[in-house]
Amino acid sequence: MKKTVEIFILVIGLVFWVGCATVFGQTTINPDTVCANATAEQYFVTNTPTSTYNWTVTGGGGALQTGQGTDLITVDWGGVSGLYLSAIEVVESNAAGCPGLPIILDIFVLSLSSNLIGPFCPGDPSATLVGNPAGGVWTGTAVSGNNFDPSTAGVGNYILTYSMAGCNTTINVVVNNGPVTGPIQHF
């Protein structure tokens, strides 16, 4: 029970965090969350035109792509989920070449996964969708909460999406035709 409460609080926090990031277009919350294998993520500090900025990216499979020396960089992240302390560091130097104090940002790399379900036949009972980590949201045809209902969906191929903190993962679900049996004939 206690574990569930902790996860719930974490999820609520993540949702609020993403919401803020969406509204304001940027975040200063530490740690910052990025999706696994995200590319060209932009990080910046308030620019002082006469200053230069030395960035360091470590952990999380992060690799600095562009912008070294400037106030804005892009980073590609790896796919291993986890919290990486001091993953981004920047040291500003003024026009005289004097360095300031390092500014750091911790990074949480979020990797989502889920169970595979199906294939189904029409009339099969609902199947439970399980996302990892828990607390995300399932969307797609015939999805209700954490359940997929093949009867509601009908025959076809469906892509269901599991979302959390701005990150997504998808699964394909198939509902096949059942055999069509003709009327009983009398030779």
Binding site: T46, V90, V91, L101
Partner: protein, 193 residues
Amino acid sequence: MIFIYMKRLLTILLLALTITSNSQCVFNESVTLLPAPPYQPGDVVLVTYELPTFTGIFINWIHAFEINLSPSWINLTPITTPLNPTGSAGNWIWDIQHTFIGGLNFGPGWRFDNTGNVDWGTSSQGPFTMSFTIEVAPTCTADILNISMLVIDDCTTGGWTGGGGACCTDPAFQIYNGLVLPDPISTSLIYHY
């Protein structure tokens, strides 16, 4: 017996006071700094120095004005050269370094180039006004900013030896003594688009 020693002691003391008093050659120096302190790296300061009167000992003459700067000052540039009112033939010249005849290592500053009697100063008693600019050097640490002006007579330079070695002993005039602090660096937090 004790009175004899006291009298001798008093005589020596009076003599010392007299010499100290007579050795004062420089009076009422003044200076203006534009802009006024405090200073930051990159500031350029105009220093205007004035010596209203110079009175030598045993006809010692004024010979040079030496500018002494702490290392945090750079780009020393002369602006206004002192005049030579009712002085000897010659000119005040700007010099970065010069070794006087007596071996005194001088510079930077202005020294008088006496065209009549080489190695002498000028008989002018002033007033002398001169100016120069200096720039505060870039720095990453809090450094001392010091400016002083030393007035040198031709007894000290060794150009005039007729005074029995009684040269002017006025200390350098402290024009400014302060600190320069590095520009503060305040980096914002890291933002993520």
